[in-house]
Amino acid sequence: MQLNSVRALKEDLQKNLIGPWASNQVTRQSIGVRATRWGVNVVPPTLALGVKKAGADPDGFQLAVRVQQASLVNSSLIDQIRTQAKGEVDVQYVGIVRPRQTRWQQSSSRPLKIGCSIAHYRVTAGTFGGVVRARDGGQELFLSNNHVFADENRATQGSDILQPGPYDGGQDPADCVATLNFFIPIDFAKPNLVDCATALPGEGIGYDAQTLAGFGRLNGVRNAPLAGNEPVSKIGRTTGATTGTITAIELDNIVIDYDQGQATFDSQIEIAGGTTSVFSEGGDSGSMIFDQSLCAVALLFAGSSAGGPGNLGLTYANPIAEVLDQLKADLLS
């Protein structure tokens, strides 16, 4: 099936088959002993619909059905779904799904590790990209985006940066690890090249500027020009360690939605994830992107809602050389 057909079928089944069936389950439970567990109009956690790739055909998809009650696998409900999907369905019993343990990236990290959650106290959460050394004075500074450390130009120098970020439970001042040092303002009227900022580490706050957890040791900054279709990786607060492919370079006229309005960026790098996995999500901003030699190539800051293999969205990043030049700093590695 085409992707759009599977999506339409999924919506139709949810509305006309699963919804009424689930409501019936709630009604039946309401006369049982566990009536209060599921409120009225709440779907019991027994069955989920999704979309799955089918075979090698890039345009081939099928309906995915995930069942939490073993007795449902051979039920009339599943038979009806199979019939409506004309057999193009993948049914699997998954049992009860429990929340995963919190990623290390979203927890307190001392010393700070590249990829951990961090943010200004008024921002939700972003990613600790690494450490730079100021060319003038030699101070070591934390690196991330303006919109992570400087709240889109609104933060004042010296304001608190928390690890983990507030969304991950970081408290001010208990989890303050640094203070805002410097940011390149985001211009909402003219094209930008970077979304970056630095923070001054607090006294006694330890940090590891070299380790790319699961990959090895950061190997400086990439000097050779980037090639299209080249694999790159990152460690981010939300999606952890991921690898994708560079799909465009020297990308101009990208219009980015910020809280304060739209800003245009030129000379950016575009990265795609895989057919079933994204390269980044919200909260990964500030991640250092590196090549297979573990050389830094870019600073992640934005993403699209569609495009790329699987139409899962694309990631956008500032070339790291431009970031470092504008910050007048060198990457510590």
């Binding site: 990308l251 006229n253 990208i254 993403g303 495009g307």
Partner: protein
């Protein structure tokens, strides 16, 4: 013959001018960059959504291939 990056950069500027001259294309534009296509270089034009005028863009420009992608809205991460 596969296009060089220098050819792709020149073509990119021409594509920018074509898009800028059309209001619908300009409003839907989400980025113009250089991409690797067929072992050479090409121009990648991203739009936030489909607009009919996309069909007016050439498939090649001065021998440089052009690819169009629909990427939706782009927002900070």
């Amino acid at each position: 013959m596969a296009a060089t990056i220098a050819q792709a950069r020149k073509a990119k500027e021409k594509v920018k001018a074509l898009v800028a001259a059309n209001l619908s294309l300009r409003n839907a534009l989400a980025g113009i960059g250089i991409s690797t296509i067929d072992s050479g270089y090409g121009v990648k034009v991203n739009f936030a959504n489909e607009v009919a005028e996309q069909s007016t863009l050439p498939r090649t420009l001065d021998g440089v291939p052009l690819v169009i992608s629909i990427v939706g809205r782009v927002s900070k991460r």
